[in-house]
Subunit: 409 residues, 2 copies
């Protein structure tokens, strides 16, 4: 059992945060943030599978894959530090060195993360100067976490943070985090970044196992390609300050509780990143049920969620269900189209649109009302087995085009 | 050697066409067309790989896969006859029967094609009535072909037809055709339809071989998925009236000439369908050169051509070359990003944007001018081998969203 509590990245014991306006790209807003733990943390990370990896991804992966402990994460918005060659990678070290000096870190390391335009070098002097300000401003308050979650936004329309309490070894533990989203039609804009902090004491290998399994059903089910940006990163830091005896067993209640709490955080993040996709007016959720197996269910759900034509119809509140049938059909999964039922639902109601592959004479007015909701779900019943999967995305709007036709300027 | 000549689907000897306003969906425009050959034709066809296949696709595939000769094709715009079950399939037979009766066909068959909204039944009485008008109006004039190419449009902004002369066995042969395009961001709207007619005399198996090979580099390199609509069809009809001795050998000059002329037709169609993509303001072409092998070159080119973020940047004349690097990177092909050069060109000039994976300090003003051209090419030099591939698409615009947010009404 997990309970949602106030706060985000500073909710767990020992975690502090700060932010500053370093003048990297935006005017009149903060654009750098720091997360710090008073006790060095074990880490787990998952990163983009894009062949073109940003410099911070290479830097962080080497650290989280290794055994060294981490005390801080420093993040900038505005420039992605991707396609920047050796110079870009050297800036990761310069940034880390500056943080180490400012925080007087001896035996622990610093993760770095960047989000923004690809192919530009960081203004490293501003970044280094920013790290000093960030180190001086660190605070464990809820407000400090909240402000940090605002500083990492790019085209996000609002900040995203969440925290839960759970129990392990008789102790109350806390897990929380913050994230930023991206252009969600394809998640290949820099970047989806998520930072999750917990005070639970847990074996490093189990942390990674839990994270890897969890993202398959959350972050990797958001929008198109799941793994496309040059910078996508999810980082989990655990400092053990909850005082529970270390979680070492996969088949323990403590591990199950931890996984449930982690899932609470990542599910919130995935859905909120989707709903806040660039230009989006609503969350669009595709549930595939009774598929032959889980892998097929996922492919089918992702095929519909990434269909530009379906997304445009959802924007227009147009129950053009043929586009959903079509997107299922070109997913690459074989199935009998004359088995499929499709139902749409939202806070405004529920209506079946397709029975056995053929559109029904449904209530158009009700369908339009359902589609005009803030969170619209299309459920596709394949009637082939018992597997299911859910994918999250958003509608395709004029504003998506507007935002992306001239993102750099 | 091939020469472009006037006309389209009626250019080859013995082919006639007609059109009529049958009142299927649109007001004040034609929406049915017929193509007829005075001599029954051998046929070859390639169709959508979508699991959800429209009724006409099933009807036509059975015919073109078989040995029966075909005398006519009848086409309607407005309703796709997809997701229509047994009732929809029975309408293919009813339409074919009506054409056979109107044209007094005894030993030859009729192909049917539909394009438009998915999930609605055809108004079969109007279709049957339309076939009689079409049969009575058939004409071999250039104008009749031209008018037929207009009747099959849906969201196309202009009709598309082309014809070439070539030589086989010392005889002048002609190949021509008409096509209609579709929402090209994903080619999954109903539908891309192409009808190609020729008077050459050629073995049926060689016709199919030529068509199948050709579409791999033309229709299947247009936009995203290459094979996604429920209705996509390319049909080739040959009546042999050129009087050449039948082309039977794959390694003959005659077959090579036929292939070149066929490619002229399909390349024109592919590029024009891309350039007339829904809401498009320009043709976008992605050339991948010096790739490790042909398959990889194709995957890389298609990954860039389908990237919504790249397409939005092309619309905004924004040289956001990081998005092209990113789209290459998530294509699924492994390569060294620090080998890649990228150059853009159009009728307005040429400028290199990326060298060895890192953006150059390029001329922004010139880049914007190049991108504002009517036909923009991005050339990605992978420096890994000698293979190349080209993909065609268009920019992503406000009008794409507008057209597709309420396509049904």
């Amino acid at each position: 059992m997990i309970n949602e509590i106030k706060g985000g990245v500073t909710a767990a014991r020992g975690f502090a945060a700060s932010c500053t306006a370093a003048g990297i790209k935006y005017k009149d807003r903060t654009d750098m943030a720091m997360v710090y733990s008073s006790v060095p943390c074990k880490t787990a990370g998952t990163y983009t599978k894009n062949v073109v990896k940003a410099a911070p991804v290479l830097w962080d992966r080497a650290l989280t894959d290794g055994d060294k402990l981490v005390s801080a994460v420093v993040i900038n918005a505005g420039i992605a530090n991707a396609c920047t060659g050796e110079e870009g990678f050297s800036y990761c070290k310069k940034t880390s060195d500056a943080v180490k000096e400012a925080l007087n870190l001896k035996d622990s390391e610093v993760l770095v993360a960047s989000t923004g335009v690809i192919g530009k070098q960081l203004p490293i002097e501003k970044i280094v100067a920013g790290t000093k300000v960030l180190a001086a401003k660190l605070s464990e308050t809820t407000e400090a976490g909240e402000e940090a979650s605002k500083a990492i936004m790019t085209t996000d329309t609002h900040n995203k943070q969440i925290a839960f309490e759970f129990e392990a070894g008789g102790k109350k533990c806390i897990i929380g985090g913050m994230c930023k989203g991206s252009g969600m039609i394809h998640p290949n804009m820099c970047t989806m970044l998520a930072f999750i902090t917990t005070d639970v004491c847990i074996d490093k290998a189990l942390m990674l196992k839990a994270l890897r399994e969890d993202i398959e059903d959350t972050f990797n089910m958001v929008s198109v390609d799941g793994d496309t940006s040059t910078n996508d990163s999810v980082m989990l830091l655990a400092n053990g300050l909850a005082g529970n005896s270390e979680i070492l067993e996969e088949n323990s209640i403590d591990y199950a509780n931890f996984k449930e709490a982690l899932h609470g955080v990542t599910l919130f993040m995935a859905k909120n990143i989707a709903a806040d996709g660039e230009g989006a007016t609503k969350l669009f959720e595709v549930k595939v049920v009774n598929a032959a197996d889980k892998a097929k269910a996922k492919i089918l759900a992702l095929s519909v969620i990434k269909s530009s034509l379906t997304k445009a119809a959802v924007y227009g509140n147009d129950a053009n269900v043929g586009r959903i049938m079509c997107a299922l059909g070109y997913s690459g999964v074989d199935f009998d189209p004359y088995n499929v039922d499709i139902t749409i639902s939202s806070e405004n109601g529920c209506e079946q649109l397709v029975e056995k592959g053929v559109p029904l004479d449904f209530n158009e007015e009700l369908a339009t009302r359902i589609l005009s909701g803030k969170a619209v779900t299309a459920t596709c019943d394949m009637k082939e087995g018992k597997a299911e999967a859910t994918a999250w995305g958003c509608d395709l709007t004029y504003d998506y085009v507007k935002i992306n036709a001239d993102y750099r300027s």
